[in-house]
Symmetry: C2
Subunit: 117 residues, 2 copies
Amino acid sequence: MSTQLYNLAQQLQQAIRSSNDFQQLKHAYEEVRRDETAYRMFTYFRDLQMQLHQKQLMGTSISPEEVEQAQNAMTQAQRNEKLANLMEIEQRMSMVMADIQQIAMKPLEELYRSFAE
Amino acid sequence: MSTQLYNLAQQLQQAIRSSNDFQQLKHAYEEVRRDETAYRMFTYFRDLQMQLHQKQLMGTSISPEEVEQAQNAMTQAQRNEKLANLMEIEQRMSMVMADIQQIAMKPLEELYRSFAE
């Protein structure tokens, strides 16, 4: 990768790290980390999500009971104020990153589109 | 998303568009587009790939015959010089984009890691 691209990517990384959204996300994680109940609920929920995804990857079926269990864990997590806050900011940060990726990917998307015409 | 992030993402987009790798990729696509045989083989291969992925998404099974058909189409495509060249440059461009994404995502990866400890 060229020096110019590398330098710009580094500048972008630093701008992300110092952005308001990222700082708020960092703070929200710290709040959850300091709250034993919130932290346990969150790790339980994330572990469940990961287990379901791994089963999908291994071609193992996921039962409706497992899906329901994960949905219940999500509902429980969202009733906790700190977790609801964390999830909201995670979502916002995720959208910022998706926007950045969309902007960076645009030359390739245009190339694919013109090729397919 | 903040103006600073947006401006940096735009600069990155322009740097990607004018990069040597992207220009070579654009040229490789044009070569394939002008070669009727290569273009037909490529679209056939890409259509097969997409069909398999759609079946996966819809929970429809993929038979071993279909997998073999896609693998054969890949092998045939790679025997064509222009297609082999295109696929090689696509792979290189893909790695550049993956590197950029990794750099941009690093603050979040560090945050997740410290949270999980």
